[in-house]
Symmetry: C2
Subunit: 198 residues, 2 copies
DNA sequence: ACCGTAAACTTAACACTGTAAACTAAAACC
DNA sequence: GGTTTTAGTTTACAGTGTTAAGTTTACGGT
């Protein structure tokens, strides 16, 4: 019956290939179809629309990132070290998978239907991981400081750093490695909750 | 001779109107032209292409932001207070001018020709303002810590916070005001350069 | 006053994009 | 073997940025 051997998987493969090698703008229905060897409309047999196709790739990326974050917990026993490693891993993921990062975190809301709330689970789970480790590293002192807020601050920092780096908006005088370690250090300052309010 | 009264300005006006009211995706050559009452191709008489038109709006936005940052210096005498106010102003600019912010800082590099290096002046100048105030607030102690790097860290935080907020990716349990003041506080922690390296 | 030229603007067209509807071929079922 | 369902294609539409050619209008010179 089937003219193709698992067409859905082939579409996903070529879409991923196109994303990683040529960037998001080159992920078009026609280009994906051409690489697969089918017609553009055939994609609609397996994906409701382009957004659904991209969302599948987003989920893949979320899985990869989630895996990398989880590995940080196993690699260290000290929770402060775990936290730093997690920050480093997040940055490294963005730096080495720029196109994945773009679709996962930088796609304009207007340009695409928002990533369905239900599927934010992995993203939220990552944030919760940061919050948990942060909470643990500080040893339950000062329970008034909500770790979720601090984790959100850290996420903001990491996301901003990655975005600016990928957009090549970091001053050329700052070497990549310095930028990376400094960002981790700044994030790690959240481990010592000595804040003065404004 | 002229069929229109300062067509270039009218184009810019309607493009700005469309951007602010309807968002970046709705800034199309045909929609701008329709609002102006001219043909789409007439725009090309005054702007090389769509990018050039958008860049004009970007420059406008940069000017507005630059102005707001400058006002912070006048509003306070203490340089630490100036710094905090600058951070707050940056966030507020993004929060209240989401569409300007999008074209200024979030347009995918691939989707648009990179913002010409020469025109980064205002953006760089903003970064330098942050670096200068940071340097001054710390009173020249520890000259080894390059304020440019720290200013870049702060910029990363502010940009990340704004981006996540505008994309509505901040946990609903965190009120906007708390998020705002916490971000400013975190940025302000750069004023006390007590960093432990990793 | 008239002609030629240059400036301002429009018309028509091209190569793309995502997507819906209609059509076709092949397999599955009874 | 005939009918229905599945898998896939063909065609078409409305939208995008942009280019090239055509048109109208105003200006300058003799």
């Amino acid at each position: 019956m089937a003219k193709y051997d698992n067409l859905r998987e082939q579409i996903l493969d070529q879409a991923r290939h196109l994303l990683v090698e040529k960037g998001y703008i080159n992920v078009t229905m026609r280009k994906v179809a051409h690489l697969v060897g089918c017609t553009p409309t055939s994609i609609y047999l397996y994906f409701e629309n382009k957004d659904a196709l991209i969302h599948s790739l987003i989920e893949e990326g979320m899985d990869i990132l989630h895996q990398k974050i989880k590995e940080c917990l196993a690699a260290e026993s000290d929770s402060a070290a775990q936290f730093k490693r997690m920050c480093h891993s997040f940055l490294e993921f963005g730096f080495t998978n720029p196109e994945y990062y773009v679709v996962m975190f930088q796609l304009p809301t207007d340009e695409m239907v928002p990533y369905p709330a239900e599927k934010y689970r992995r993203a939220r789970s990552n944030l919760q991981q940061f919050a948990d480790v942060l909470h643990q590293a500080r040893g339950e002192k000062q329970p008034t400081i909500d770790p979720l807020v601090d984790a959100t601050m850290v996420w903001s920092l990491l996301h901003g750093a990655t975005s600016l780096y990928l957009a090549q908006r970091i001053d050329a005088r700052i070497p990549k490695e310095l930028f990376l370690t400094r960002t981790v250090d700044y994030a790690a300052s959240m481990l010592n909750p000595i804040h003065q309010s404004s």
